[in-house]
């Protein structure tokens, strides 16, 4: 299969869906002329014109709110919030309008709105440009939360988001944009929500990775294999809905689990995953549920401090190794 970067895979999904359905359009700050600050929509203005690749003012409330209104009137907007850190500028629209519109209407409103947003620390971007906000809206019923790690999943999940009837927060990790992987070129290739992916099989310990931590988990697994520890790596791919079954099945087999994400530890996505396992799979567990994530301090600018705060391969290795050091 041909290889694409994560960024190219996302662009391909956008382009294919916009060719397929005239109701799909892209809107956000600098998505047009600039091609997106991360270059994801590069060239799309040329193909689709300024009507369907819309540069907006710096107005996150208006971007999300207008996306919602347009979605309810038959369009399928993909709106982009440049950094996940800015999501809270539109927090009310997301929490109180987008997520609840269908339910409050008695199930009648369709809200096919995809909110693309970046997450993660790109390096010395400091406290307001480095956050991983995947869990910030997990408590809110009504919005789905997607965090792909591999290019093929990025493409397939974005298509599912755009074709679906519900609002989706779609997290793209900045440090994954340049990562390559095989991506099917079938224009109807989609990846379903709520189905975790077993990225590597193993029997000794389960490592659940979110976003870029899937790649780090794979590296950790390779290192640990040398010590004879067979790690199973699972990527939930969608946090809402969450594929509990695959997680529980894995833990049943390995009886040990580490959950890793780049978000801060406290109340990050791992809190929910750990709680689910502690509620539904505790009998299979042979030790603590170990979380790996960023320390509970804002992301510092200094690379030394930043590396100290962010989780890395070695943290996963250490977390896994801890099971055999008790």
């Amino acid at each position: 299969m041909r290889e694409l970067t994560y960024s190219e895979a996302i662009r391909e999904a956008l382009v294919e869906e916009m060719r397929r359905d005239a109701n799909v359009f892209l809107m956000g700050e600098d998505v047009g002329t600039f091609g997106g600050v991360w270059g994801v929509s590069h060239g799309m203005l040329d193909e689709f014109g300024p009507e369907r690749v819309r540069d907006t003012p710096i107005s996150e409330i208006a971007i999300v709110g207008a996306g919602l209104g347009a979605a309810m009137m038959g369009m399928r907007p993909v709106v982009e919030i440049m950094f996940g850190d800015f999501l809270m500028c539109a927090g009310d629209q997301i929490v109180n309008q987008v997520a609840k519109a269908r339910f409050m209407s008695g199930g009648k409103a369709d809200v096919p709105l995809t909110i693309r947003v970046t997450s993660g620390a790109p390096g010395s971007a400091a406290a307001q440009h480095s956050q991983s906000p995947e869990s910030w809206f997990m408590n809110i019923p009504g919005i789905k939360i997607v965090a792909p790690a591999l290019p093929a999943d990025a493409k397939g999940l974005l298509k599912t988001a755009i074709r679906g009837e519900d609002p989706v927060l779609f997290f793209e990790h900045k440090m994954l944009y340049a990562e390559k992987g095989p991506v099917p070129d079938d224009a109807d290739f989609t990846v379903p929500f709520g189905v975790a992916s077993v990225v590597r099989e193993g029997v000794d310990v389960t490592v659940v990775g979110v976003g870029n931590m899937v790649l780090k988990a794979l590296k950790a697994a390779a290192q640990l294999a040398e010590q004879g520890i067979r790690v199973e790596v699972i990527d939930p791919r969608t946090l809402v809905p969450l594929d509990k079954e695959t997680l529980i099945r894995s833990v049943q087999k390995t009886s040990r689990v580490v959950i890793a994400h780049e978000a801060h530890l406290r109340s990050g996505p791992a809190a929910e995953i750990a709680a689910v396992l502690a509620e539904e799979a505790i009998e299979y567990l042979d030790g603590p549920i170990v979380r790996v994530g960023a320390k509970n301090v804002p992301l510092p600018y200094s690379p030394i401090l930043e590396q100290f705060v962010l989780p890395d391969v070695s943290d996963i290795v250490a977390a896994v190794a801890s099971f055999w050091k008790r």
């Binding site: 709110g65 369009m75 109180n96 339910f103 199930g107």
Partner: protein, 332 residues
């Protein structure tokens, strides 16, 4: 005055008046039924603001859309909302507009272009702008109208939405009902300017002030704004000066009213004022109006009876309608 009426058909004048009476009486009935226990939730009545609600919505086509507010019953009835489904929603029944899930703050009817009341001050404005964006992209002649209060113009949502609407010349009418209060705080302690229509200049489109208690003035003003919008000339901010006669919500002790203010506005009660105008014009007599009024009462009797007889939702219904697709029930 008489001249002004002349341009309108008998049916149209009758329908305006009937709708104003419907709004007024719907509110009073809902308040009564809330006291009587039929309605469990809060009510923010629009008594006193019937002319602005009815005048504005009368200027819209059926396929145009509105976003509304916590004080939305008049807007919804104006846009054609059915009293029985509204009353059933207030009574938390499964025959209500939102199957009992939304209540007064969230009533919507997508078939009628009612995109929803809203519990968040200013929250509906960006949504209306988004609907207008869709209409523009669809090369449709439909327009969107956002209702909001004088308090809402101080929210960031108003500003961002108005700027986008102006920038893209979207077919949207921003309709501000300035009733001089946001909850218990007078408008002059919420913004440093009294004429909120002025804010339109910041967004490059016209702002117009209208007597919000004069249904025909509101109608004509919004009609002009709608024509502009349909012609691709972009948004208009309409500020309707009006007053609410009851508490912010039912039960509000209203300690904040300025002395004499209520009394002076009572003189300008929009419903009797329009009634008197119809009579004075000679085109309607007492008997004809009585018939209309009785029709409203009958409709409301039916609405209340419908609501009271309607079934309550089954508990399990709470779990449906959150998503369009549940991926095997996984999302709960």
């Amino acid at each position: 005055m008489i001249d002004e009426l002349r341009q309108y058909s008998q049916e149209f004048l009758a329908s305006l008046y009937r709708r104003m009476v419907l709004v007024r009486e719907f509110e009073l009935r809902a308040i009564e039924e809330r006291r009587g226990g039929l309605i469990p939730g809060f009510i923010h009545s629009c008594v006193g603001q019937e002319a602005s609600a009815v005048g504005a919505t009368a200027a819209l086509r059926e396929d145009d859309v509105i976003t509304s507010t916590h004080r939305g019953h008049g807007h919804l009835l104006g846009k054609g909302g059915a009293p029985q489904y509204m009353m059933a929603e207030l009574a938390a029944r499964s025959s209500g507009y939102c199957l009992g899930r939304g209540g007064s703050l969230h009533i919507s009817d997508f078939d009628l272009g009612i995109l929803g009341a809203n519990g968040i001050v200013g929250g509906g404005i960006p949504i209306a702008v988004g609907a207008a964006l869709a209409f523009q992209m669809q090369h449709s002649s439909r327009v969107a109208l956002a209702f909001f209060g004088d308090g809402a113009v101080n929210e960031g949502a108003f500003h961002e939405a108005a700027n986008l609407a102006g920038l893209w010349a979207l077919p949207v009418i921003l309709f501000c009902e300035n009733n001089l209060y946001g909850e218990g705080t007078p408008q002059d302690r919420q913004a440093p300017i009294a004429d909120l229509a002025k804010r339109a200049e910041s967004y490059g489109f016209p702002g117009v002030i209208v007597d919000g208690n004069d249904v025909l003035a509101v109608y004509a003003t919004v009609k002009a704004a709608v024509s502009r919008a349909r012609a691709g000339e972009g948004p208009t901010l309409v500020e309707a000066k009006t007053y609410r006669f009851r508490g912010h919500y039912e039960g509000d002790p209203q300690v904040y009213r300025k002395p004499g203010e209520m009394e002076s506005w009572r003189q300008r009660d929009p419903v009797p004022a329009f009634r008197q105008r119809l009579l004075t014009s000679g085109r309607f007599d007492e008997a004809a109006l009585k018939v209309l009024e009785q029709g409203v009462q009958a409709e409301l009797d039916e609405a209340v009876a419908f609501a009271a007889a309607a079934p309550y939702p089954e508990v399990g219904e709470a779990l449906s309608g959150v998503y369009g697709e549940t991926h095997g029930g996984l999302v709960f």
